[in-house]
């Protein structure tokens, strides 16, 4: 017959662990900080002339104090902005007033057409932050769409599935060119 083994009562250990657990549960913040990452341009140097950029290569996006959009002097809508920007940047139809493209040889990709378009985003002081972020988001997604298309065409994979080396090649072929224009004081608060 086996003798009953005297077990140490570990029940209270759970209580101690619970105490600690509840402490960390309360203090924890699970939110991972995420957002739209941007690089600000250095302040303009008055001695250096700004580079000449052809009129057709600049895609003007304006957001006014009533959160209305103007793209290339035409009223636009946030819902169609993504598609519209995608078409303008890529300029498949080779329109004269849309950005020009240059044939470049990029490692891993071969010869590709690289758009010279730069999105110039201008906002008013009275624009709501939410609208501004939505516009930024749509612009980013337009560029991401272009990258995805390029990745699909060349490698048959989505951009996010590519190895880093290929990603860089695609980045070179589709650079995210969003420039935030120098703020101007218009409209007031």
């Amino acid at each position: 017959m086996a003798r009953p083994v005297n077990e140490i009562n570990a029940g209270s250990m759970a209580d101690i662990a619970f105490l600690l657990l509840i402490f960390f549960l309360v203090t924890t913040t699970m939110d991972v900080d995420s957002g739209i990452i941007r690089r600000l341009p250095p302040p303009p140097d008055p001695t250096v002339k700004p580079p000449d950029i052809k009129e057709r290569n600049v895609i003007n996006v304006l957001v006014n104090s009533r959160d209305a959009l103007l793209v290339e002097r035409q009223p636009s809508d946030i819902k169609t902005l993504r598609r519209q920007m995608h078409d303008i940047i890529a300029n498949f139809s080779n329109r004269e007033d849309w950005p020009e493209k240059r044939l470049e040889t990029i490692e891993h990709l071969g010869e590709v057409w690289v758009s010279r378009g730069i999105v110039s985003l201008k906002n008013d002081r009275g624009t709501s932050y939410n609208m501004y972020i939505q516009v930024q988001n749509e612009l980013t997604s337009a560029f991401n769409d272009l990258r995805n298309e390029m990745a699909m065409e060349k490698f048959g994979l989505r951009y996010s599935q590519l190895p880093n080396e290929w990603k860089e090649a695609v980045n070179k072929a589709v650079p995210v060119a969003i420039s935030e224009a120098e703020p101007e004081d218009v409209g007031g608060k």
């Binding site: 619970f18 960390f24 924890t28 900080d33 995420s34 957002g35 990452i37 939410n130 997604s141």
Partner: protein, 154 residues
Amino acid sequence: MARFKRKGKGRLPGISTASLPDIIFMLLFFFMVTTVMRETTLIVKVKVPDATEVQKLERKSLVSYIYIGPPLRSQIFGTESRIQLNDRFASVSEIQNFIVAEREARDEADRGLLTASLKVDQETKMGIVTDVKQELRRIGAFRINYSTRRRIDK
């Protein structure tokens, strides 16, 4: 007819709770590892906008936060959006000093990688945000992040 067995003479052994602490400890370690202590108390209301194209911020230790939003105690401080740095309200001109102090607190090698995360309430007007961005440009803090929540479309 089915018969139920009466509880026999043999003593029913109690369920061993010895593994319970292990389970709790497992949970505990999970929370200990994932936890980030809240270092600032918010005095402005910040409800960040949604976006679909969000990226995660790498290396949390190299992020400085700038909060902009309407004050929580609007009876005293009004409803106009204000800037919060650390634990207090700040004016636009204090941003530069804040960034300098944040840089000082980091390792020398990492100073160039400091990212300013703008946690801005979605109702805020762009004017104040533009001012902050201009200050950041002047002090050379070019890496910024517009903090947003992830929204899943469709």
